[in-house]
Symmetry: C3
């Protein structure tokens, strides 16, 4: 298995604890691998919860210097699993939307609060919330096979992950709106030009080069790195939580509307017509 290649160093006993993730703790690096490759690592409600748990563990663990997130298989992550909306519960659609909003609020809030360097290793296509949340990572390395797509309005939805704030800040409104309002899909190189990505590496060396870098970073003076990260973030932490809340509130509203329902129904019917 490609992602589990680390054998040197001390590996914690916790690795097999998650259903949707693979977690490895080696030499100060807490590595989270989204691990539903046959579903393109789409994020189920369980995966949202497990990602929060894993990040909280990485935050508290005294041997963890930094954390990184990557995807198993060809995809990095295909975003929110639309199956999360497939079964309307007996409590009704409003209850379902509100529950989903709470989960998202907590999920994004966990990234806002994460106190150690967080590195994204984008091994392939990234969609939706897996893209927007990158604005809360410290460093993002991408394979040249990666793409970045946030088709919110096509799905009758709206931006989350604080991207309504972080994207215009990092790439300017004119390029952020093209992605967030008009569903523009971009390449890894374009994402680097737009400052969403720190650097792009050829697919065949991506795993090796980024692994080496992450290992080297984990040997830097950790207190200095962690305190520097918090210094950078403290100034906008409150604002980010406010943005997160506003984004979740709007999504709870839109999830209950016609545009979203129609888009999701169309998605499932086009999927089943392919069978």
């Amino acid at each position: 298995e490609a992602e589990g290649g680390e054998t040197a160093g001390e590996v914690s006993e916790g690795s097999g604890r998650y259903n949707t993730l693979q977690v490895d703790q080696v030499d100060g690096v807490y590595k989270i691998t989204l691990n539903r490759p046959n579903k393109k690592n789409a994020i189920t409600l369980e995966m949202y919860e497990e990602l929060c748990e894993a990040l909280n563990e990485a935050a508290k663990d005294k041997d963890t210097v930094l954390a990184c997130v990557t995807g198993a298989g060809d995809y990095y992550c295909s975003g929110n699993d639309l199956g999360n909306f497939a079964n309307i519960p007996p409590e009704g659609i409003t209850a379902m939307a509100e529950k989903a909003g709470e989960i998202l609020l907590k999920f994004v809030g966990t990234f806002i609060e994460f106190p150690k360097p967080l590195i994204g290793l984008i091994n392939g296509p990234a969609v939706g919330v897996s893209v927007t949340i990158l604005g809360l990572f410290d460093v993002v390395y991408a394979s040249d096979r990666a793409t970045f797509h946030t088709p919110f309005s096509a799905l009758g939805q709206s931006p989350e992950g604080c991207s309504s704030y972080t994207f215009p800040k990092m790439m300017g409104l004119a390029k952020a709106s093209e992605m967030l309002l008009l569903n523009k899909k971009i390449t890894a190189v374009e994402a680097c030009e737009r400052s969403l990505v720190t650097a792009v590496f050829p697919e065949d060396s991506f795993h090796k080069v980024t692994e080496q870098r992450v290992k080297a970073y984990a040997k830097l003076p950790r207190k200095s790195m962690q305190k520097s990260k918090c210094l950078i973030r403290d100034g906008e932490r409150d604002l980010l939580h406010k943005v997160n809340k506003a984004e979740c509130d709007l999504l709870v509203e839109l999830w209950q509307g016609d545009e979203c329902m129609n888009a999701i129904m169309q998605f499932f019917s086009s999927k089943s017509s392919k069978l």
Copy 2:
């Protein structure tokens, strides 16, 4: 006439209502064309008023999904018509400056409040306020013939259109100051690198490609798009109005000063010497 080529779809009766603009409403797109081509679409006091009216109409019109702005002829817009300052009224120069400041405040405020996607189609050179205001557009497409020039200090004036805030935010202080303080003129490609422009198209396909895109965008779920735009903007709306006010106040002061008077007089004398 190139800009009036749309014939399909439903066209509202309002098109001939403006003196300085051509307005077309087709298939959800509210298209505003600055229409003083023999004056390079310089913005007269009347055009400021008409642009506010047209934008307010587009905002309210239930059939309008999005709006776009372009220029008739070779220029996009040569900026504020200096003829606006040519005749000092009997009330004196202070009254004239204050009146101009009020008009500008209202004009920029209308862009800050515009609630639907707003797309700039920059068909040729853009100067002054027609450049700065682009920081309040959602998407900006430019012909490779377009240039962007904000020669404020050369004219003894100062930045407006919220550019004192939006330009450093989108392109960094080092590049914003070069434009806003030191009169640097940039190409369409440079404007794209600086995030002022979303994308650049060759002149000969510009009209066709952007028309197709705008049409397609107008078919996207409109509620999702409009609410997403407002979400992105809500966080800085109050700040933008504050910036707008500070910019207008400074301009009212500078318009009455020697540097501006001398620069404008020199402009007119160099113009008449060419006759």
Copy 3:
């Protein structure tokens, strides 16, 4: 001497007043040259004080339209002179750290408040605080020989010069963190792509081209330029002072910690081992 080549115009009598700087006032340009070339222009406590004095003089001097900063010799500036930490005074390390924090607070505060256009002429490698402070300059021109390096975490330290705010704002978090947390060294061209630098010039024409530009800028309407700069800065002045204070407070803490002590001791021992 290359930097002192200006002979035309009126030169003030003050030029020889500084021990660590060369200062020239010619035709509205107040030019500050960091002048410890045999120490790569490392900033001693005296140089911090003299830079504040020189900037305050440039701010008040009625003949000064704008100021620029460059370095004598091959380096622009190698950053904080680690010799500042070489001798722990009798009052102890806490007193030393607090004193250094006060000097830095005042130094950065002087740049925040500087009311006239400030242009960086980066003639060679730049390190540490000489890089971070560039986020407070209006325009930065770099020789293609220049590099930009902020190895804070390698030295057990943390970002200053308001870079914890200005760097993420100008280049996005993903690229700022690579520099500020992970010690990434970048070229002049990369610094330009990241908006830290306005433009890059070939080494052999750098001095001549930038000198001509600066001269031309000093002839622009000065009131318009200076008021425009203040307009751009007023909105975030208070925030910048708050950021500066938070950065200095963290540094005072880290300077007293093991990571920093070890890093500095290692620096000196590797230096002496080369003798």
